[in-house]
């Protein structure tokens, strides 16, 4: 199944001269074309990609060593700054924007020989859970074109599910990698906060934004993470790598003795019956393979979404203040003075969701409301972190569904922002606390993919990837 080998094997065959990077890039670009009806892709970077590929092929022909991702085509969510095309964050305000430099994550992948071939659709500025907030178009779910792919990294998830490329990059601020991965039936990895540099990625909520891979297998995702992870002087919130790295292909991790806590709050009411059945089947499979599982309650988790919808807009309102129409992005020419120019450029450039979040953020940060909203949210954030810490004294991992439901219909939630926000109810907690978390495909409900979420202690990314691979190996 699928047109792509495992990523490590592609790179090996490139090094051996058995595969040509140019042919792989052409293959990926042909797939972009072939699957265009799904609207997963905003633009291609074909010229630069073919040039990069030719260089790799030349190096191999010359007997030189190439990187661990040599010749592997990938797609970046369009909020990563990339050269060789536009970076729009799927927003009108950045419609003409051409990045003058690249994101650190992209630079590191390129340094290992990976080749960015296209930019994926997203909810504008990554604000959303369905790609319906994209100022371009809505991506269609590969399993059912009348449904959303999830968001905000919906184009990335769909591109991987459609087998256009072996992996794609996404960003996860409240669930934006894991949710679309769940809806599209692929692996989506959200690392510990700070593990991958955010330099050169369009900022959303800086205290919870992380960058991660979407792929078809845990080993592929782990290898991509390994190539990106670690300190970067251009992002002072980055943390040290695990000295063992994150490439788990040859690791021998003992799983059967692991203790896993089933998050009670995520298994309660509100869970679609088919999702519950699939998640329980996944739990049974782990148990049968020797994992010890029992239920645990984290009583503050139901507050995580309210915390998120204070912290996130607050940080969004600050981060989006740079779009003033003067230095880059959409500029309104009808303004009479400078202030007018800011207001009109932002009015015509931002979509409804960005405006909504900017205003909520401005409200909760304004004097008189700061204590009631922003500070209180940060106190509950501490409580959530403490509950995770306590839970991880008893358990190695926590488990539950990634979302309470499978992919919903296009249009079903688009006119009710609060209902859309509820899509993230099971993913936001790990963003607020900074813990690493992964979505793994766990069967289907009515022919739509169901996602299993595993959460690990902060910094335990390598163990989490090992555990995820163990689950993946149990088969469906």
């Amino acid at each position: 199944m699928g047109q792509w080998l495992a990523i490590a094997d592609i790179a090996k065959k490139i090094q051996a001269g058995e595969l040509k990077a140019k042919a792989l890039v052409e293959q990926a670009l042909a797939a972009v074309e072939d699957k265009s009806e799904y609207d997963a892709i905003i633009s291609t970077t074909s010229e630069r990609a073919l040039r990069k590929a030719a260089k790799i092929d030349e190096r191999v022909a010359g007997g030189h060593k190439v990187g661990r991702l040599a010749g592997v085509p990938f797609i970046a969510k369009d909020n990563f700054l990339t050269l060789g095309g536009k970076t729009t964050a799927a927003s009108n305000i950045l419609r003409p924007f051409e990045a003058p430099y690249q994101a650190t994550a992209i630079e590191r992948l390129e340094a290992e020989g990976a080749i960015c071939v296209a930019k994926a659709n997203l909810d504008a500025f990554a604000h959303g859970s369905s790609t319906e907030n994209s100022d371009w178009f809505t991506t269609k779910n590969p399993y059912d074109k009348t449904r959303v792919p999830g968001g905000s990294s919906g184009g990335s998830a769909a591109a991987v599910a459609l087998d256009i490329v072996p992996f794609a990059l996404g960003t996860d601020t409240g669930g934006s990698i894991r949710l679309p991965a769940a809806f599209c039936g692929v692996v989506g990895y959200k690392p510990t906060y700070g593990l991958v540099s955010r330099s050169g990625v369009v900022a959303m909520a800086s205290s919870t934004d992380v960058i991660g891979p979407l792929a078809r297998s845990v080993e592929d995702a782990a290898l991509v993470l390994d190539c990106m992870a670690g300190r970067d002087e251009l992002d002072s919130t980055t943390i040290e790598r695990n000295p063992k790295g994150y490439d788990i292909r040859n690791s021998k991790f003992q799983i059967p003795n692991s203790k896993v806590g089933i998050i009670k709050e995520y298994m309660d009411e509100g869970l679609e019956p088919g999702v519950k059945v699939a998640v329980n089947a996944a739990i049974d499979k782990l148990r049968a393979a020797g994992t010890q599982l029992s239920e645990i309650s984290l009583p503050s988790l139901p507050l995580a979404l309210a915390v998120y919808y204070i912290i996130c807009p607050a940080e969004v309102s600050s981060n989006l203040s740079r779009y003033d129409g003067q230095r880059f992005g959409y500029h309104d020419i009808h303004a009479k003075n400078l202030d007018d120019s800011y207001c009109l450029s932002r009015f015509n450039g931002f979509g409804a969701e960005a405006k909504r979040r900017i205003m909520i953020g401005t409200y909760v940060l304004s004097s008189g409301y700061y204590e009631a909203y922003y500070k209180k949210a940060q106190i509950v954030r501490t409580k959530i972190i403490n509950e995770f810490r306590e839970a991880f004294k008893r358990f190695d991992f926590l488990i539950g569904p990634t979302a309470p439901n499978t992919a919903f219909k296009i249009g079903e939630r688009a006119h009710d922002p609060l209902k859309m926000y509820l899509s993230d109810i099971m993913t936001v907690a790990a963003n607020i606390s900074g813990n690493p978390a992964i979505n793994l495909p766990a069967g289907t409900s009515n022919n739509l993919p169901v996602g299993l979420q595993i959460i690990a202690p902060t910094g335990a990314d390598r163990s989490l990837l090992n555990m995820a691979r163990h689950f993946e190996g149990l088969g469906s």
Binding site: P96, F97, E98, P100, Y101, Y193, G194, S207, S236, T237, I239, L303, A306, V307, Y309, I310, S321, D324, Q326, R327, F328, H331, A335, K336, N337, L338, D339, D340, Y342, C343, L344, R346, F347, A352, K355, R356, I358, M359, I360, T362, Y363, V364, S366, Y373, K375, K376, A377, Q378, I379, V380, R381, T382, K383, I385, N386, P417, L418, Y421, G434, T458
Partner: protein, 97 residues
């Protein structure tokens, strides 16, 4: 209850440097009120229970040497997205009347 008035929304829009149409003011008044109602779930939280957490890395004062580094960016490249430039600088509408 945090029902916003039209005036509240207009004031918020001004603080946010957003021009809004009257339709938008109406729409946002309802939507923003709904969101604020939802986050009032946190009202019952006792402030004494914990200290606020503003960031999760635990990193403090990450320093680097104060040295000029050449990242290879050219001024022309960095200005290419600007709507108006003059003499290698951003050009904006006059600020002082």
């Amino acid at each position: 209850m945090s029902k916003l008035t039209q005036d509240n929304v207009v004031a918020l829009a001004a603080l946010s440097r957003l021009t809004l149409t009257s339709d938008e003011i109406d729409k946002f008044r309802g939507e923003l009120s709904g969101i604020l109602d939802y986050v009032e779930a946190l009202n019952d939280v006792n402030e004494q229970e914990a200290e606020p957490t503003y960031q999760v890395t635990g990193l403090k004062n990450v320093m680097r040497p104060d040295e000029i580094k050449d990242y290879g960016y050219r001024v022309q490249e960095l200005l290419k997205n600007a709507p108006a430039t003059k003499a290698g600088q951003f050009k904006v509408k006059r600020v002082i009347g």
